[in-house]
């Protein structure tokens, strides 16, 4: 007799980087691992978080930074979470209004251009402790703009950003694709830096679950990690893109035209190798690097979201990052794993993160 499949309820946001979860279910990779993934599209990151915490969802598509935000209880509930693996790297962008982009294209520093605006500059990100907030703040600060003073930073749902920019309500925003591309297509804005240029190979979305699931049901966590890791590997083969594009453009997935999604999967001309959206990258996009977690926490403290603390982060970061489960899943699939749990990254301003 066959063992019955274990059903898991998975939440996702309608974004291109939810592809690994959608592909895993469409390809039947879940069943091969004794699981049945039921996907539930959500309207906000807050809803994803609340439903994960309440147990209504078993695992979610989450922004990497958001997991540490919940773990440390910044601006909302605190809970013990786990990161099973990364879902993708790169693939986000910072977009400026055309006037601002023009003004910055010469030698004029952004800080000067912003000071010359007739009103307080307004920038948007997608969640207060999300990756887009971190990338935006980092980019602004690297150009001498203090994101905590003199400008307004607001949270908006990304599908509303291009319109808000066209109406003149936003001077800049940071979001995942296709929203920067959409703003460009409308003539409402111009992408001035891709996230993969800001930090080549940066962690973006992750597969997250409650800590108790990862710790008390290790076989389940392993089966889920294997399922999604296999989907990520499958996704990096360009020959499979037509299938992915068709699935993602369906109304219950993302529901935007196929051409728009296809454009996000193709490397753009100005991107160098390692800067474009990848779901696997030989496993580099999936390994839950401990050092990435430290990097996010440093930024949280830099902007005063977290109080300065003794460097005890590593103790609990090891509980959040399920390295052992990931290594086991990768071994089973023949995916290469690094020897060390940390990596060293160099960001666009030459600063080293490790």
């Amino acid at each position: 007799m066959m063992t019955p499949l274990r059903t898991l309820d998975i939440g996702f946001m309608p974004l291109v980087d939810s592809a690994p979860l959608i592909a895993a279910a469409r390809l039947g990779l879940d069943r091969a691992n004794g699981l049945r993934l039921r996907l539930h599209r959500q309207a906000s990151w807050a809803a994803i978080r609340d439903r994960l915490l309440s147990g209504e969802l078993d695992a979610v598509h989450a922004m990497a930074a958001m997991v540490y935000g919940v773990q440390t209880g910044i601006g909302g509930p605190r809970a013990d979470l786990a990161i099973l693996m990364g879902l993708n790297c790169n693939g986000q962008a910072i977009t400026l209004s055309p006037a601002l982009a023009d003004a910055c294209s010469g030698d004029r520093p952004l800080a000067d251009v912003l000071r010359a605006l007739p009103r307080r500059p307004v920038f948007a990100q997608t969640f207060p402790t999300g990756t887009h907030a971190v990338w935006l703040y980092y980019w602004l600060a690297a150009q001498g703009v203090d994101p905590n003073h003199g400008i307004d930073v607001v949270t908006l749902p990304p599908p509303q950003m291009p319109d808000a920019m066209a109406r003149g309500e936003l001077d800049g925003f940071c979001a995942g694709e296709p929203w920067g591309a959409q703003a460009e297509a409308m003539g409402a804005g111009r992408r001035v830096i891709r996230s993969g240029q800001l930090w080549p190979g940066h962690p973006e979305k992750v597969l997250a679950c409650r800590r108790e699931t990862a710790a008390l049901q290790p076989e389940l966590a392993l089966a889920l990690t294997k399922t999604v890791l296999e989907a990520c590997r499958w996704l990096d083969d360009p020959a499979h893109h037509p299938d992915v594009v068709a699935w993602l453009s369906e109304p219950d997935a993302i529901g935007v035209p196929a051409a728009c999604i296809a454009a996000c999967l193709h490397p753009s001309e100005d991107e160098r190798p390692g800067e474009g959206l990848r779901f696997h990258a030989g496993g580099d996009a999936n390994f839950p690097w401990l050092s990435d977690g430290r990097g996010f926490l440093r930024q949280f403290r830099r902007w005063g979201w977290l109080p300065a603390a003794p460097a005890k982060d590593d103790d609990w970061l090891r509980d959040v990052h399920r390295l052992q489960t990931y290594r086991e899943a990768a071994r089973a699939l023949g995916v290469a794993v690094p020897v060390r749990d940390e990596r060293e990254s160099v960001l666009f301003d030459g600063v080293r993160w490790d």
């Binding site: 609340d50 207060p128 949270t155 908006l156 319109d163």
Partner: protein, 192 residues
């Protein structure tokens, strides 16, 4: 009078609550276009006491930002969910933003629900404020100890003398003890 902001940006007929709320004597603020940028301005400008929105509203992340930025004046949020979301109700009650999730949209149930949400919210803000105060006290205590250490080290004072010197400086400059301590620490860092 309680000022209520209705956010109507999903299929659920939140706007239909307007009449019921008015009948209950609440001040219902002018509706926003339902777009987040407009909503953000509405919240900042009109300062509602309660925000009511659908649990599946895309504007929820924007309200998260408000909860994080304005710790001194966060807004209680009442969320409407479809029937049978029992687990969500329990969770929402434990969440940082005081939230009360309601099955369906029965106007008759609004008044007690809003009262509970407000009470719960006030209680939570109070607890959070107390926690913030405690954390601040701890930080102050640590900095004062460090500053005492600096004085003992550099000025060869004993602990009581160092403390007395700190207090005297604070009184002379009209500053809090912890602020004087922080200045001394910063200066010591600078001078090495």
């Amino acid at each position: 009078m309680l000022r209520v902001l209705l956010v109507n940006d999903t299929d659920k007929p939140i706007a239909e609550l307007r009449e019921a709320l008015l009948a209950l004597g609440y001040d219902v603020l002018p509706e926003t276009a339902g777009r987040s940028a407009g909503l953000l301005m509405a919240v900042q400008r009109q300062q509602p006491d309660v925000v009511i929105l659908d649990v599946d509203s895309p504007s929820r992340d924007m309200l998260e930002q408000l909860a994080m930025l304005s710790r001194q004046a966060p807004k209680p949020v009442v969320m409407f969910a479809s029937d049978g979301d029992d687990r969500l109700i329990r969770d929402a009650l434990g969440a940082g933003v005081a939230a009360y999730v309601v099955d369906g949209l029965a106007p008759a149930r609004l008044a007690p629900i809003l009262r509970v949400a407000m009470a719960r919210f006030e209680q939570q803000s109070h607890v959070r404020q107390k926690l913030d105060d405690l954390e601040q006290q701890l930080r102050d205590r640590k900095d004062i100890d460090r500053a005492k250490g600096v004085l003992m080290d550099k000025r060869a004072m004993n602990e009581a003398e160092a403390y007395a010197a700190l207090r005297q400086q604070a009184m002379r400059q009209g500053l809090r003890l912890a602020d004087v301590a922080r200045r001394i620490i910063a200066m010591a860092d600078l001078l090495g």
